[in-house]
């Protein structure tokens, strides 16, 4: 089995199974093609979308977009998503509901306590204190080996997760668990999702479940769902006639589809993918599946039914479930208790969950205890059914998809990501995408993907069915719907954008007074513009620019796997999802050419090729732009503060240190807080987390501030006179022969090589990431080394290298290198300082220091004592800084807008401590805004429709915190403006704002 295969040789693994795998895909691609045709015929009327859709897709999508009414979750936004959401894959469900089963803090005892009440197959993931590892705790069958619960340790190796003893590794925990829901590999049987999760039909339902957190296990939701088999046709009160009709339509088409399917598909499918062989194959799929496995995962979904005899029934019931889902928000569960429960939750859930407050403990914000299980926990009648219903989407993708589609043509993360490195720099739109409310768009994206997956899944499952059996009606339905959904993607995007905008507006933070939340990144438009403009600049060094480009687009960094690299070429050009599918087919990867045209569905998987690291970084970057999140508001406030207060630092070093500290603190915050959803531990192996966070911080903080930092550093140099001195010394050093700089025997680079090195330095300047800069520096060093060695055949140590580097730096004559080095020295992740990058960076610093002191050195042959001291200080600073500072220092920003009748608004970010009173803020404003008559001004809290003057003794920061902690985040701004009448001190309405 897979388990024995060593992970790591991806290529071979791929080829092993590629043959039959392709066939399989081929077959269901065929199916899909046919289904699609069917669909077009059946649902032409459905399309009411004003949007400009293309051909089939528009028509098909119409069906889906409308069905939402039945989904009727009462979603505030485009209800269209709901119908799409219905179809969710195991992975999707898992990802959504991780607060339920991903209980890292739970002890073995507690886990056993929870699982004992559950049917076999139900599981938890927790962290074992003894092993210091994550373990998968699974409820076994009663008769098995005496122990009712078994614990399988999870192995986290570089970038992957796998079960101990298995050769199948996964990009993240969700994929791992999802896989084991479908294939048992080394488990005694497949995992089973709790019924409530498995049978949930809407996003909302999953959210409800997720909200319970660990409390789910004791809740009515858990026990009741489990015991009540879903009625076939749950009639929900919300069932609308319209919907019913639609259902009928759909059903009709399903049947037709089924028929067609029966006729054509099975024969084709049969020979290619007979169940047994597939079985084998699946087991085969060991090894380094990591980034491929999503594909497999989907595949397996389908097969799941084969594994389980009852699959048919399952399918049917699923179908019913789906219908039910369409018809009503409520799941089909019959018990009143659960319904009430759901309702209650819904109320809460309606508004987006409040962002965690200031220092949110990582613990279990959502895991509140739930009411004790009312009913007995009878074993489910259809133990293995849920995966079926579940088989659809992939929340996994969601992170990748979550971006404003229209705004960014390149569709960075998802599709272009793979193409990155290989591709030439692509100009990225300079306007950062508007902050997107996470819930809504996640869902939307997920939907697309889900559909894709489901399509595949269904097709696969049919492929496995015995030829004569009439295809289950439901799957056909599902297919149809899926296809529709899939096709409608472009459309969805369009809509989504609109709704996103409105969402983001409502969730924006007070600090953006003059700009709509959509532009919150606009705070830093110049830096990004800057970057973007520069990026296209040609550089002779191969992928340097590309590398940076990568970061620009999807945050990916140099860690891509080989697989990814291989995939890249084919992705390059494709921006659109549909085409991506095609390109995949054509690419070196897997799909046979024959599939290209019709196999669009697969495209959904592509996003899963994005490494977990990328997804995590991307997610964090998004969070950082979301001012309704606490993290986002900290980051954005800090960024705007820095932009507006360049002068507040005493030196470039001081400035950089503050930045470094901020990043370190934000990393610490992210690790402790629960704002990241899913938790980063589930995506990234523990030992990689810090470095991923570091990358994310570069993206969130350094990228928008790059130009500001550059200018500030340069200004400091100029004003201190260092710039001028450096220029002079550089000019002098440039005239020196290598020997005069200490080179002894080694052959120096010729002018051509120097030119090349200069180019590398220039491209280094364009990077915002200290790590990227360092990696370019390493290339320079490598080049120098190569030249030295090529010319002598021997190897050189520092005695030869350092003088040569000094010579090269002098020859390059780039005074700006000094600030570059400073930037790297101060901002580089402290953990990298000991490595090769740190070494050569130190060498570069040393070389530059020698040059800076060249004249003195000529006299004394020694560095000035001043330089020496600097080095000592740097050493001390950088080694002591390792202790993690607190977040508090960076919570102290408040953005206040000055509103003048004639000139409109200007906003400033001020340092305001938690206990700073409104009165003090007012006087601060008066001086910052240069108000001649401060007595006529006051601070107001302005929300959408209200404006309240704050009493002098209130604390604006507390008010802000309070507002942030409310379940429904509203827009609010602090406005400093003229008081119309001098009726001061209308007590602040904020009830607890100032009383805390």
């Amino acid at each position: 089995m897979a388990s024995s295969t060593p992970s790591g040789n991806l290529p071979s693994g791929l080829t092993d199974r590629s043959g039959s795998f392709f066939k399989l895909i081929d077959t269901f691609a065929l199916e899909i093609g046919e289904l699609k045709k069917e669909m077009v015929q059946t649902s032409p009327t459905a399309d009411k979308e004003p949007m400009d859709l293309q051909g089939l897709e528009s028509e098909v999508s119409g069906v889906y977009l409308q069905s939402p009414h039945c989904g009727g979750v009462g979603v505030e936004r485009d209800s269209g998503y709901d119908s799409l959401r219905r179809r969710m894959s195991v992975l999707d469900r898992l990802t959504q509901t991780h607060p339920v089963w991903l209980l890292l803090a739970v002890s073995e005892e507690e886990a056993s306590h929870i699982l004992l009440k559950q049917p076999p197959g139900v599981f938890l993931v927790r962290k074992s204190a003894a092993l210091q590892r994550k373990v998968l705790s699974v409820r076994l069958k009663e008769d098995q080996s005496g122990t009712p619960i078994s614990h399988f340790p999870v192995r986290e190796s570089q970038y992957t997760f796998s079960l101990d003893g298995s050769g199948i590794s996964f990009a993240d925990l969700f994929r791992l668990v999802a896989f084991y829901c479908i294939s048992r590999d080394l488990l005694p049987f497949t995992l089973k999702l709790p019924e409530a999760i498995a049978s949930a039909k809407t996003q909302k339902e999953l959210e409800e479940v997720a909200q319970l957190g660990a409390g789910f296990w004791d809740s009515a939701l858990c026990s009741q769902r489990r015991t009540s088999p879903c009625p076939r046709r749950p009639l929900s009160r919300t069932l609308s006639p319209q919907r019913t009709n639609r259902n009928r339509e759909v059903e009709g088409s399903q049947q037709r589809l089924a028929g067609a399917h029966c006729d054509s598909a099975p024969p084709t499918l049969r020979p290619h993918a007979p169940p047994p062989s597939f079985h084998l194959e699946r087991r085969h799929s060991s090894g380094p599946l990591c980034f491929v496995n999503p594909l497999f995962l989907q595949t397996h979904h389908h097969h799941r039914c084969e594994d389980d005899p009852p699959s048919r029934a399952d399918i049917k019931s699923d179908n019913n479930l789906e219908n039910a889902g369409n018809a009503s928000v409520k799941p089909s569960s019959s018990s009143q208790g659960s319904e009430q429960h759901v309702d209650k939750i819904k109320l809460n859930g309606k508004s987006h969950p409040p962002p965690p407050r200031p220092p949110p403990p990582r613990s279990m914000p959502r895991r509140r205890p739930a009411p004790p299980p009312p009913g007995p926990t009878a074993a489910t009648t259809r133990p293995k059914s849920m995966p079926e219903a579940v088989a659809v989407s992939t929340k996994q993708q969601q992170p990748s998809c979550r971006r404003p589609a229209p705004a960014r043509p390149p569709m960075g993360a998802k599709h272009s990501s793979p193409s990155k490195t290989a591709s030439s720099p692509i100009p990225v739109p300079s306007n950062p995408p508007p902050p997107r409310p996470k819930k809504p768009d996640l869902e939307a994206h997920r939907c697309h993907i889900a559909l894709d997956d489901e399509t595949i899944a269904k097709a696969l499952s049919r492929a496995k069915l015995p030829p004569c059996q009439p295809p289950p009606a439901v799957p056909a339905d599902a297919l149809l719907e899926n296809n529709a959904g899939n096709l409608s993607i472009p459309n969805e995007r369009g809509r989504q954008r609109l709704s996103d905008m409105s969402m983001s507006t409502s969730s924006s933070d007070s600090l953006d007074y003059s700009q709509s939340p959509g532009f919150s990144l606009g705070l830093a438009p110049s830096p990004s513009l800057h970057l973007n403009h520069q990026d296209p600049v040609e550089d002779s060094s191969e992928d340097d620019d590309d590398g940076e480009e990568d970061e620009e687009e999807d945050y990916g960094v140099g860690l891509e796997t080989d697989l990814e690299m291989r995939l890249r070429p084919s992705f390059k050009v494709r921006r659109r999802r549909q085409r991506v599918g095609v390109s995949l087919g054509g690419g070196s990867f897997i799909l046979p050419r024959a599939l290209k045209g019709r196999f669009r569905k697969v495209s959904g998987m592509l996003s899963s090729f994005m490494t977990p690291e990328r997804r995590a970084v991307k997610r964090i970057a998004e969070l950082s732009r979301d001012k309704s999140s606490y993290f986002g508001s900290l980051v954005q406030d800090y960024i705007s503060f820095v932009q507006e207060n360049r002068g507040c630092h005493t030196s470039g070093m001081d400035f950089l240190q503050t930045l470094r500290q901020f990043m370190t603190q934000m990393k610490a915050y992210l690790r402790q807080s629960s704002e990241l959803d899913p938790p980063i531990e589930s995506l990234i192996p523990e030992d990689q987390i810090d470095q991923v966070l570091e990358k994310a911080m570069h993206k969130c903080v350094l990228k928008p501030l790059k130009s500001v930092i550059e200018v500030a550093l340069h200004d400091f140099q100029v004003s201190s006179g260092a710039w001028q001195r450096l220029r002079e010394n550089l000019a002098l050093a440039k005239t020196k022969k290598p020997q005069e700089l200490g080179v002894d025997g080694a052959v120096p680079p010729d002018p051509v090589a120097i030119e090349k090195i200069c180019h590398k330095f220039l491209s280094m300047q364009k990077m915002y990431s200290p790590e990227k800069k360092v990696s370019l520096l390493l290339r320079v060093c490598k080049l120098i080394y190569t030249i030295m060695q090529d010319n002598s055949g021997r190897m050189y140590g520092a005695d030869d290298f350092l003088p040569m580097l000094t010579y090269v730096v002098a020859q390059c004559d780039m005074p700006q290198l000094d600030t570059e080095i400073q930037y790297m020295m101060e901002l580089l992740d402290p953990s990298l300082l000991q490595g090769e990058g740190g070494y050569y960076l130190t060498s570069a610093y040393g070389a530059m220091a020698l040059i800076k002191n060249f004249q003195e050195e000529q006299a004394a042959r020694v560095l000035s004592s001043e330089a020496r001291n600097t080095l000592h200080q740097w050493h001390r600073r950088r080694t002591t800084q390792r202790s993690v500072p607190s977040v508090d220092d960076f919570q102290n920003y408040l953005r206040v807008a000055l509103q003048e009748l004639d000139t409109g608004c200007t906003a400033k970010t001020l340092v305001v401590h938690p206990y700073t009173t409104t009165e003090e803020v007012c006087s601060l404003c008066a001086s910052k805004f240069k108000i001649p008559d401060p007595e006529n001004y006051a601070l107001f809290l302005v929300t959408e429709d209200t404006s309240q003057q704050l009493a002098p003794d209130t604390h604006p920061q507390r008010i802000k915190a309070e507002l942030h902690s409310r379940p429904l985040t509203q827009i609010f701004h602090f406005v400093y403006r003229r008081v119309s009448n001098l009726n001061l001190c209308i007590p602040a309405v904020m009830h607890n704002g100032n009383c805390l």
Partner: protein, 194 residues
């Protein structure tokens, strides 16, 4: 074993036979398919020690006088320092003493200091008696060993000794850093620096 990175840096006076030693060391590395480094001035070497794997990150420092002032940059954060002298050159031993002094004054507090007398294959033209060097080492609580770059004598031992002096981590965990392991090995050669 837990992979653990130890900053280590090496001093050496110039002309102690430097490059040949480092080159040899690096070439041995390449023989073992160790991830190639940029050049011979930064090297890594992994030594198993109890439950841990100690990965030495070896920073070579330039020996010339004019670069001495950069030394603090190199020894910052180091867990260990290897100071090399040439047993056939008394001068190099005097320089070593200066380095020790510098380290004691400005170096990290708990840095492990090792003194390596290189070229012990040239015992017949020795200028620094082993006894004297050993006593000096003891006086500063430093590790002492004589090595031969040419004959690859005692290089491995040098690092083993350092490894043993590194305080163990609190809770040793399992780690998969084995890829860095270069255990077998006719130890390269003593390094001039390091």
């Amino acid at each position: 074993k837990s992979g653990r990175e130890l900053g280590t840096f090496c001093f050496q006076d110039t002309g102690v036979g430097k490059s040949s030693i480092v080159c040899r060391f690096v070439q041995d590395h390449f023989d073992h398919n160790i991830s190639p480094t940029i050049g011979a001035s930064f090297l890594t070497k992994t030594v198993p020690c109890g439950h841990e794997l100690h990965k030495f990150l070896i920073w070579d420092t330039a020996g010339q006088e004019r670069f001495h002032s950069l030394a603090p940059m190199y020894y910052r954060g180091s867990a260990a320092a290897v100071i090399v002298y040439d047993i056939t050159k008394l001068d190099s031993f005097q320089t070593l003493k200066k380095w020790v002094k510098e380290l004691k004054e400005h170096g990290p507090e708990d840095i492990v200091v090792a003194i390596a007398g290189n070229k012990n294959d040239l015992g017949d033209i020795r200028e620094v008696p082993m006894k004297e060097a050993k006593e000096f080492a003891e006086s500063i609580a430093a590790i002492f060993i004589e090595t031969s770059a040419r004959n690859a004598v005692n290089v491995e031992e040098l690092f083993q000794k350092i490894s043993k002096q590194i305080p163990p981590l609190e809770n040793p965990e399992v780690d998969s850093n084995d890829s860095f392991k270069l255990t077998r090995q006719p130890a390269p050669s003593a390094r001039r620096c390091c």
